[in-house]
Amino acid sequence: MTCWDILSDYGLRSLGFGERLLPRDNFTICQQVVLIGSGMIWNIYFGLLALVSGFFLAVATAVGKSHHNPMFRKPAEWFIFVFRGSPLFIQFFFAYFTFQSLKGAYPIFTPLTSAWLGALIVLFLNTAAYSAEIFYGALMSIPKGDIEAADAYGMSGWKRFRRITFPTMLRLAWPAYTNEAIFLFHATTLVFMSGFPARSQMGDALYYASYFADKTFNPFIPYPILAGFFILLTLTVIGTFGLINKQLNRHLPQTNRAKIRLRLNLIR
């Protein structure tokens, strides 16, 4: 069987297309690469959707937390505290549990117990909380002159936020937010590991990697393949975020940026 056949048989196996059964013996590198790569579809699906939707909730929550009115501040603080304060697998556990009882009561909630929706919701809330804290920290380090000038020109509320606060906040938050995006993609590996059941052997990259590790008893092939895929994914994230970062920092004098470089200074 050539690698092309394997690709057509297993390329979309994580979504339930192609061969019904996973390979069971004579494992080839190609099989492992294809199946683990197929699993990446889920990691990207979860990561991307949670990241994009979480961004908006995060910004709203960060603003809420910095609001002087406790009506906005308190809920935001509690939301951040609970989701940032507890491990993801506990969130998965309780979410799965809650979704199940909801499903028992009202059948329309049935999709919630499937990973594609249930786990996505948990990841969405989780990343929103972490990002909100990052954005809040950035909000707090905005130079006061910028805000003052906006105030003085009668900019307020939404206008001031959209034009002055938000761009500066993003610029300051970006490096940490990049980290959070990466963490989120990594966290997607926990969905089938400790959260939701995998149905008919449709799982994410880690699911297939551990399948192979379990069958071949050799962790040194499937996990590095997994790591390789994730490095590619992360480099893409870093690249994309880096482009945005350049855009956010375009006002800093170019010459200076290149010039002020310091040597390795570990010892005083």
Partner: protein, 297 residues
Amino acid sequence: MAAIFSFCSDPASLEGIEWLSCYLTTGKHLGIYWSIGTVLLLLAITAPVALFFGFAGASAARSRILPIAWFGKGYTAIVRGVPDIAFFLFFVIALDQFFEWIRHEVKCPDWDMPIRQGNDFVVCPEAKLPLGTAPQWVHETYGFSLAVLTFAIVFGAFAANVLSGAMRAVPHAQLETAEAYGMTQRQTFWRVLVPQMWVYALPGLSNLWMVLIKATPLLFLLGVEDIVYWARELGATKTAKFTDYPHGDWRMWYFLALLVFYLGFTKVSEVVLDKIMSRLTRGQATAAGEAQRKAAA
């Protein structure tokens, strides 16, 4: 088994609070209490080490000497790329084998068998880490140290990213002034850049800390029993056959207890981080400094 309370000798006859107090003091439960200490110790050691790695990585990435800069950038980009769980599933074993291989080369130069025998990794007995005859606690300590090292490498990469972002956020004029006053690059770095970068770095670092706190369940992959392992184990359904304290699926309650533990720990962390932050923003021309001033007014 030596029970803590004398009335625990016949658990089947107990009820209510007495049953519970006996249940919660079984040797198994002492295991979970002990593991809390393990987790805290791990965090207490890992955090500074990871910060150091991060600092070194960030400084290296800024270096003018290209190979050092590449190393710093490569470290932050590559290590950040790999999910920590994958790290624990293969990297730690590789690391362990690497150490043993080094020891093997040093201690058993006359060893004539290959190190790789089929699937097996075999070094001479003197090279084993820890020695096969060492008591269990040495093995656990070794696993623990490997965990610290791995966590530090992984989280150090993220810390490096946060710190280099923070270094870039320090206004250029501040560094330039230092140079104008004849400070060496080293002095500028330590006297101006480093003190000022924390304000920008702290939010990102505190996020890392929060993630690190929650990464401890990975410890069990190295054979170190942490609280999550114990909560899963203790919460699982227990039939009367194998225990004096049978119960149904209690994971819910154990996870709730874990939740409380993590939330409490988070709260404490937040209080401490807030203190540090308010110290750093005192008198600064930022939104936080301004809020602080207005609040104090």
